[in-house]
């Protein structure tokens, strides 16, 4: 069997897309459940929002915003790869996805702290 080309930078782009998607899918049920408490149990939601003032939680939020943005960027790269007649610039797009995600999540983070 052919060995997958794991030393290729775009394998890392694949891995980042997969892991960010997995992490977001695991986070989402908690996120949605917590929001559903807004009316039935506002104290629960406010308790978590107070907990979110903790610097480490803000750092985790920065991570989540980064994951969301980088998953979108990676997804756009994938869509471009599949549907647009481009071929050779994908490393640049993969790097641009990470750069844009860092920019967006850092903007969020700077407002949060």
């Amino acid at each position: 069997m052919k060995v997958p080309p794991r030393s290729h930078p775009l394998w890392l782009a694949f891995l980042l897309h997969r892991l960010s998607g997995l992490a977001l899918a695991l986070f989402l049920p908690v996120h949605l459940w917590l929001l559903s408490q807004a009316v039935t149990s506002p104290a629960t939601l406010d308790g978590f929002l107070a907990f979110a003032e903790h610097p480490l939680v803000k750092l985790a939020e920065f991570g989540l915003v980064f994951l969301l943005a980088v998953h979108m960027g990676g997804g756009l790269r994938l869509l471009a790869l599949e549907f647009l007649p481009w071929s050779d610039r994908h490393k640049t797009y993969a790097a641009a996805a990470i750069g844009a995600a860092l920019f967006l999540s850092a903007t969020f983070f700077l407002r949060a702290i």
Binding site: L22, A25, S36, A38, D46, A112
Partner: protein, 110 residues
């Protein structure tokens, strides 16, 4: 292993979410300043048809997208196949849709 309909649903849900994710990130950057509270969130979203449609669409698209995405991972990394795999996909999709619908209704219906 992906059949064509799942592949198309995955790509379409992704396309739908591109503007929604950008909007969501913009709202987060805007809303986080000065901290968050339940009252502040509800003040922004309650009674708003726009946010109901925005997040309602988001919830439907992300339920489809995450269910199919987790199906791929469960197959490729978890070795699941056949009915178990389909069952997992439907449970994840229905679960997220239920949780998401409850969340959207909770924050938008006055």
């Amino acid at each position: 292993m992906l059949d064509l309909r799942l592949y198309v649903a995955q790509r379409l849900s992704a396309l739908v979410m591109v503007p929604l994710v950008l909007g969501h990130i913009a709202v987060m950057i805007y809303a986080i300043q000065g901290g968050l509270s339940t009252a502040e969130i509800l003040g922004r979203t309650q009674g708003s048809l726009l946010w109901f449609l925005f997040y309602g669409t988001f919830v439907i698209a992300v339920s489809v997208h995450a269910a199919i995405g987790l199906r791929v991972i469960a197959h490729e990394w978890g070795g699941l196949r056949g009915r178990v795999l389909d069952w997992l996909m439907w449970v994840v999709g229905a679960g997220l849709l239920t949780l998401g619908a409850r969340a959207v209704l909770a924050v938008t219906v006055p």
